[in-house]
């Protein structure tokens, strides 16, 4: 019996290790280290969008709205009620997940073609408008400031580096849990609906219920990412719910590659670093986003991470065929054999 670590874990693990070491050497000032935090936060948001795109085969135009919503919830609790950010980190995903449950229930009840995309688009516009207009609660266009950072044993996680490692740890935990979720009964149910809904129903998968839950889970995850954002950058404003971030998360997923766990992590790193490099072109960001999306879809439709996996697979030779096969390949079977 050979202990098999899926190739994704090698690649992803190495990538993460590299990312974890980088700040000590390369990112020497506060501003640059803030970018690292951003990478991790975008990676979590990307992972959750990829859960909708890659695992469910659906699309949500409201993903940034859920992200911003999570950010507002946690910020608001801390500012108005003095509730600890640690509670906020739980309350934000709970609130976003609850709203996701409602939206999913509306959009996924019948067919599952464009309904979710359309309903989430509506939700996104609505949420953004509310954030902009409901001044007494949301602070209007300028949003909320002075959001407190979380503190640990009386010590505030304020420094870029500390927050980065804190968020990185969470990211690792999330990737780990997502990978295990795939081989759970729930994960397999979701996958089977994505693969073939009629067949999934025929063998007893409650398709609507599973999809509503899966969507709600993705919303909770992105809400959590939003809360991480709010307590580090210490402000929230209506932009967080808008198209800018929707584009960003989409690029993160598509550049990295859908249906892979490490893809969005890599996509986030690429996106943040490249857009930093292009900072002078701020004004044209929508043009650039558009062009990037177009190029990715045209030239690397599977994304960077799966492409690397393919190359790695080829280098290792043909005997490792699952390298370029389905990313969700079931290594559980091997584990099960080990357990025997």
């Amino acid at each position: 019996m050979r202990l098999r670590i899926p190739p994704g874990w090698w690649l992803g693990g190495l990538l993460l290790l590299a990312v974890a070491m980088v700040p000590l050497f390369l990112f020497t000032n506060t501003y640059n280290r803030g970018l690292l935090v951003l990478i991790v936060i975008y990676a979590i948001a990307g992972l959750s969008l990829d859960y909708i795109m890659g695992e469910m085969g659906q699309f949500s135009f409201g993903h940034a709205a859920f992200w911003g919503f999570g950010a507002y919830v946690s910020a608001k609790l801390a500012l108005d009620l003095g509730i600890s950010p640690w509670i906020g980190f739980l309350a934000a995903p709970a609130a976003a997940g609850l709203v996701g449950l409602l939206i999913g229930y509306i959009a996924l009840r019948r067919t599952r073609n464009l309904e979710l995309a359309i309903v989430t688009l509506g939700f996104g516009v609505l949420a953004w408008t509310v954030a902009l207009r409901w001044r007494p609660v949301t602070g209007g266009p300028s949003g909320l400031r002075q959001v407190p950072p979380p503190s640990l044993f009386g010590w505030e996680i304020r420094s870029e580096l500390a927050y980065f490692y804190f968020a990185l740890l969470l990211l690792l935990g999330i990737v780990f849990l997502l990978s295990r979720l795939r081989t759970s009964r729930f994960g397999r149910g979701v996958r089977s609906i994505h693969e073939n809904e009629d067949l999934a129903k025929s063998i007893g998968v409650a398709a609507t219920k599973y999809y509503v839950l899966a969507f709600s889970f993705a919303c909770a995850l992105v809400g959590f990412s939003g809360a991480l954002y709010a307590h580090h950058f210490r402000f929230v404003n209506p932009n967080l719910l808008g198209l800018d971030y929707m584009f960003i998360f989409l690029i993160v997923v598509l550049v990295g590659g859908t249906g892979t766990l490490w893809g969005p992590v890599m996509g986030a790193a690429i996106f943040v670093l490249v857009s930093e490099w292009l900072r002078a072109l701020q004004e044209y960001r929508f043009v650039i986003f558009g062009v990037v999306l177009l190029l990715v879809v045209l030239f690397m439709p599977i994304g960077v991470f799966p492409a690397l996996q393919k190359v790695a697979g080829r280098i290792r030779g043909r005997n490792d065929e699952d390298t370029d096969g389905a990313p969700a390949g079931d290594d559980l079977a091997l584990e099960a054999e080990k357990a025997r």
Binding site: L177, R180, L181, T183, S184, R185, F186, G187, R188, G189, R191, S192, E195, N196, D198, L199, A200, K201, S202, I203, G204, V205, A206, A207, G325, A326, D330, L332, A333, E335, A336, E337, K338, A339, R340
Partner: protein, 255 residues
């Protein structure tokens, strides 16, 4: 008591009755044939029984309780499982994963167990895995366990479909033209599988076009034409029935 019963089951599509006042009664342990010319309503009847479409009127009873209009997945939970006329698999998954995903109803693992990979979870997973192998051996696909479903031959597709359905542990299995696309040997192999299933206590409703196949294997046969039942009886009775002959010949002449 019959395991499955329909009464007055009707489904209209526009002005056309795809299934017309169908009374059907299948006893436990039967292999019931459901035949009829193209477009006579066989698939529609199956869709109505398994909850894929709602009847315009009429009723379905399964094991003594009314299940009209219930969701397919709820019916599957009760042991009523169907296959599809057009080959329907998880095409991008391996043969093993197809049956593994088909084992949804017989997967006792908990979410926490899966996330922590508890000892209990691994044990339960190993049991599911054993059952998957058993099922694949039963349909003769154990050699193809690592193959991706879409790469299988037409015959293998059909066997895999059956293995997936069996993973749900059906009490009653409804098969929609499972022999389509098979050569005579493959079809014979499939019919043998179905016979074995029956001996294991599974009731079968078999939709089939091919008269020869179905008269060989079925205990009783129901014949549909234009959505309505025109004959019912043992294979011998059906083969000699003038209405049935007319329906089939009439169709052929019209085609």
């Amino acid at each position: 008591m019959p395991i499955l019963e329909t009464s007055g089951l009707t489904r209209m599509f526009g002005g056309l009755s795809a299934v017309d006042e169908l009374d059907l009664s299948v006893e436990e342990g039967e292999i019931r044939g459901l035949i009829g010319p193209n477009g006579s309503g066989k698939t529609t009847a199956l869709n109505l029984i398994t909850g894929y479409i709602k009847p315009t009127r009429g009723m379905v009873r399964y094991r003594g309780s009314e299940v009209t209009g219930e969701q397919p997945h709820d019916l599957a939970r009760l042991g009523l499982v169907r296959t599809f006329q057009i080959t329907t698999l998880f095409e991008n998954l391996t043969v093993r994963d197809n049956v593994l995903h088909g084992s949804h109803l017989n997967n006792p693992t908990s979410l926490v167990g899966a996330l922590t990979r508890s000892k209990r979870f691994r044990k339960q997973s190993a049991e599911i895995e054993d059952r998957v192998r058993e099922l694949l051996a039963f349909v003769g696909l154990e050699e193809r366990i690592e193959a991706v479903a879409r790469d299988l031959s037409a015959g293998e597709h059909r066997y895999l479909e059956i293995a997936i359905a069996l993973a749900a542990k059906p009490r009653m299995l409804l098969l929609d033209e499972p022999a389509t696309g098979l050569n005579p040997e493959e079809a014979a192999y499939l019919m043998n599988l179905i016979r074995t299933l029956r001996s294991q206590g599974v009731t079968v409703l078999l939709v089939e076009h091919n008269m020869r196949l179905i008269t060989n294997i079925c205990t009783r046969i129901t014949v549909l034409n234009f959505g309505a039942k025109i004959a019912e009886g043992t294979p011998e009775e059906i083969v000699g029935d003038p209405d049935v002959i007319t329906a089939y010949l009439g169709k052929r002449r019209g085609a």
